[in-house]
C-alpha cells in the first residue's frame, strides 16, 4: 500500500510542478516573453525583425507561423499577445469576438505567380489567362491563348499543373480577392476566401510547401508570397494590371499599389490597383490585438512591451528590414494610421503610449 501512496504522491508533485512553471512564465514578473502567431506570408520579415528587436532590447519574442486563420483563432483563444493575418477580420468576425480588436498593418507583400518551365523567358499573364489557367479551362502550356500573349516564348506541349495551398491561408485570400475582381466566372464558381473549393490542381501545405512543389514539378504554376519565390529562385510571371500594363513584382511596383485611400481602421484590400505602375496582386499584412490589453491576467509590463514592440515594428528601422526581404514598406498614410491606433490601445482604460 505504501508503494502505491508514494507513486500517487510523486505523480501529484510532478503535475503541480508543471502547473507552477507554466503560470510563472505566463505572468509578467521581470522577464517578459511576447508570444505571437499567425500568417506565414510575412514570416521571413517577422523572423528577421523579431530577432533584431531581441538583440536590441533583450526582450524575448516568439513567432509561430501557423497561418492567418490560426493567428486569428489564437488571439480569440487569448493564447498569444498578438496574432498576425493577411486577411483582415470581416465585420461579422469582429462582431463574434466580445472584445474590440484592432488591426496594425506592418508591411506590403506581393503574391507572385510562380511557374516551372525551363528555357522559358518571362511569362506574361493577362486577366483572361489567369482565369483560364486557374479555373482549369486552359490545360496545355502551348494553348493558343497563352501563345497570343507570349509570342516570343518557346511554350512546351505539356499539361499545366496548378499548385495551390491545401491549408487555409492569407496568401490564398489575397490571390482569390484579385481573381474575384478580374473574373466573373471565378467570382461565380470559386469566390474569395482563405481556403477554397479548387476546380483543378494539387494542394501543398504552407508557402514553403507550394514553393517546393513548384520547384520540383516541371509544368506547374501556383501563387506564393514573393519572398518564397525569390529565395527558391523560381521564375514568376508578369501580371497585367488594371491599366493594361504587364508589371513585374518589385519594391516600387508593390509600393505603388498602396497609394490609394486607406480607411481609419486600415482594413483595406489593395489588389487590382488603378495605379498604372502598380503590381496588381499585393496586400497589407496585419498584426491584430485587443484594444484593451488588461485581459487573461496579463501584467502592465507585458502590455507595455507589446505595444512598444509594435511601435518599433511600424517604425523606420523595422521597415528597412522589410525592404531587405522584398516586402514593400508601409506608405506614410498607413504609418500615421497605425500610430493613431497604437495610441488608442489601453490597459485598464489608460493609454499605454504617450
Amino acid at each position: 500500500m505504501k508503494k502505491l501512496f508514494f507513486l500517487l504522491i510523486s505523480v501529484a508533485i510532478l503535475v503541480s510542478c508543471g502547473q507552477q512553471k507554466s503560470e510563472s512564465s505566463g505572468d509578467g514578473s521581470k522577464k517578459v516573453t511576447i508570444t505571437a502567431a499567425g500568417a506565414t506570408f510575412p514570416m521571413p520579415f517577422y523572423n528577421l525583425a523579431f530577432k533584431k528587436y531581441t538583440e536590441e532590447t533583450g526582450l524575448l519574442l516568439t513567432y509561430g507561423g501557423i497561418g492567418s486563420g490560426g493567428g486569428i483563432r489564437s488571439l480569440k483563444d487569448k493564447v498569444v499577445d498578438f496574432g498576425a493575418t493577411d486577411a483582415y477580420l470581416s465585420d461579422e468576425e469582429l462582431a463574434e469576438i466580445p472584445m474590440k480588436v484592432v488591426h496594425i498593418p506592418t508591411c506590403i507583400g506581393a503574391v507572385v505567380i510562380a511557374y516551372n518551365l525551363p528555357e522559358m523567358g518571362d511569362l506574361k499573364l493577362s486577366d483572361k489567362l489567369l482565369e483560364g489557367i486557374f479555373l482549369g479551362e486552359i490545360t496545355k502550356w502551348n494553348d493558343e491563348k497563352i501563345k497570343l500573349e507570349n509570342p516570343a516564348s518557346k511554350l512546351p506541349d505539356m499539361n499545366i499543373t496548378v499548385v495551390y495551398r491545401s491549408d487555409g491561408s492569407g496568401t490564398t485570400h489575397i490571390f482569390s480577392d484579385y481573381m474575384t475582381k478580374i473574373s466573373k466566372p471565378w467570382a461565380a464558381k470559386v469566390g474569395t476566401g482563405k481556403s477554397l473549393n479548387w476546380p483543378v490542381g494539387i494542394g501543398a501545405k504552407g508557402n514553403p510547401g507550394v514553393a517546393g512543389t513548384i520547384s520540383q514539378s516541371v509544368g506547374s504554376i501556383g501563387y506564393i508570397g514573393s519572398e518564397y519565390a525569390f529565395a527558391q529562385n523560381l521564375s514568376y510571371a508578369m501580371v497585367q494590371n488594371a491599366a493594361g500594363k504587364y508589371i513585374k513584382p518589385s519594391n516600387e511596383s508593390i509600393s505603388a499599389s498602396a497609394k490609394g485611400e486607406i480607411p481609419a481602421d486600415t482594413r483595406v484590400m489593395i489588389t487590382n490597383s488603378t495605379n498604372p505602375e502598380a503590381y496588381p496582386i499585393s496586400g497589407f499584412t496585419w498584426i491584430i490585438l485587443y484594444r484593451e490589453q488588461a485581459y487573461g491576467g496579463r501584467s502592465l509590463t507585458q502590455a507595455t512591451e507589446t505595444v512598444k514592440f509594435l511601435e518599433w515594428l511600424t517604425g523606420p528601422n523595422a521597415q528597412t528590414i522589410a525592404e531587405s526581404v522584398h516586402y514593400a514598406p508601409l506608405p506614410e498614410k498607413a504609418i500615421e494610421l497605425s500610430k493613431e491606433i497604437l495610441q488608442s490601445i489601453t490597459y485598464e482604460g489608460k493609454p499605454l503610449l504617450k
Partner: protein, 283 residues
C-alpha cells in the same frame, strides 16, 4: 500476499485510466462533431462537396472517406505479396540463419523510420519514377501514396507473421515431411492453416496503421478535395485533410474536421471488428 494485492490494484488502476482516456476521446470528438451533424445530418457523410469558402460553406466527407479507404486497401494489396514472402523467407525457409536475422532486423528498422522521411523519399525519389513511367503528370496521387503506405506497413505485417509462423509446432511439420510432403506442401497445408488467423490479424494491424497515416500521404496524394477518379488521380485522405486544415479552422469547419476525426475512429474500429470476426471464423 500483500504485494499480490498491490499489484492487482495498480494494474486495475492503470487499465482503468486507459479506458477513461478512450471514453474521453470519444466523448470530446462526438461533442465537437455535433454542430456539423445538426447542420447537414447524414448528408455530411454522403456528400462529395467540400467548400470552405465563406458564404458558400458546405462540408461533405465522402471524398476523404473514399481517399482513405482506397489508399489503404491498395497499400494492403501491394504489401501482401511482399510481406508474406518475406515472412516465409525469415520464419521458414531461412529460419535462424544469419541472412534471416539480418533481413528481420532490416524490416524492423523500416518501422522506426519517421513518416516524414518516407514522405520525403516519396517526393524526391518515387515521384520522378511515377512521372517517367507516364502514369501521371506530376506523380502525385492515390497510387504513389499507396506505394509509400505499403512500404510503411510491411514491418507491421511481417514481424507479427514471423512470430506466428515460427510458433507452428515442429512436430506437425516433421510429421508432414515424414509422410513425404514437399516444402511447398508443408507451407500451404500445415503452416498456413495453423497460422492463418494470426497472419490475418497482422494484416489487420497493418491496415489500421495505413488508415491513420498522415504526413507521408499529405506530401504525395496531391491534397485535391475530390473523390479520386482512378488509381492515378489525386485525392485526399481524412487524416491528411485534418492535418492540413485544422490550424485555420473554426466554427462549422472545425466541427466538420472533428467529425471526420470521429469517422476515422469509427472506420478503424469497424476494420478491427471485421478483422476479429474473420479471425474467429478461421480459427
Amino acid at each position: 500476499m500483500k504485494s499480490e494485492k498491490i499489484t492487482r490494484y495498480v494494474l486495475f488502476a492503470v487499465s482503468f485510466i486507459i479506458l477513461l482516456i478512450f471514453a474521453g476521446m470519444v466523448f470530446s470528438l462526438a461533442g465537437g462533431a455535433i454542430p456539423v451533424f445538426k447542420e447537414y445530418g447524414l448528408k455530411f457523410i454522403f456528400s462529395s462537396d467540400w467548400n470552405p469558402t465563406q458564404g458558400r460553406e458546405f462540408y461533405g466527407a465522402l471524398p476523404f472517406i473514399a481517399g482513405t479507404l482506397l489508399t489503404s486497401f491498395v497499400a494492403l494489396l501491394i504489401c501482401l505479396p511482399l510481406s508474406f514472402s518475406t515472412s516465409l523467407f525469415i520464419a521458414e525457409y531461412y529460419h535462424k540463419t544469419r541472412v534471416a536475422k539480418f533481413l528481420g532486423t532490416m524490416v524492423d528498422l523500416l518501422a522506426g523510420v519517421p513518416s516524414i522521411v518516407y514522405g520525403l523519399w516519396g517526393f524526391y525519389a518515387l515521384r520522378p519514377v511515377i512521372i517517367s513511367l507516364g502514369l501521371s503528370d506530376q506523380g502525385f496521387g492515390v497510387f504513389t501514396s499507396a506505394v509509400i503506405l505499403a512500404i510503411m506497413i510491411i514491418p507491421y505485417a511481417t514481424s507479427l507473421s514471423n512470430e506466428i509462423i515460427t510458433m507452428v509446432p515442429n512436430e506437425l511439420k516433421e510429421a508432414a515431411y515424414s509422410l513425404g510432403a514437399t516444402r511447398f506442401e508443408v507451407i500451404f497445408s500445415v503452416i498456413f492453416p495453423n497460422a492463418r488467423s494470426g497472419i490475418v490479424a497482422s494484416y489487420i494491424l497493418a491496415l489500421g496503421r495505413a488508415l491513420g497515416e498522415t504526413m507521408a500521404v499529405t506530401m504525395l496524394i496531391g491534397n485535391a478535395n475530390i473523390i479520386p477518379k482512378g488509381l492515378f488521380s489525386t485525392g485526399n485522405t481524412m487524416a491528411s485533410l485534418i492535418a492540413n486544415q485544422f490550424g485555420e479552422a473554426d466554427g462549422l469547419k472545425l466541427s466538420a474536421l472533428i467529425a471526420i476525426g470521429l469517422l476515422l475512429f469509427l472506420i478503424t474500429g469497424i476494420v478491427n471488428a471485421i478483422g476479429k470476426y474473420i479471425i474467429r471464423k478461421m480459427s
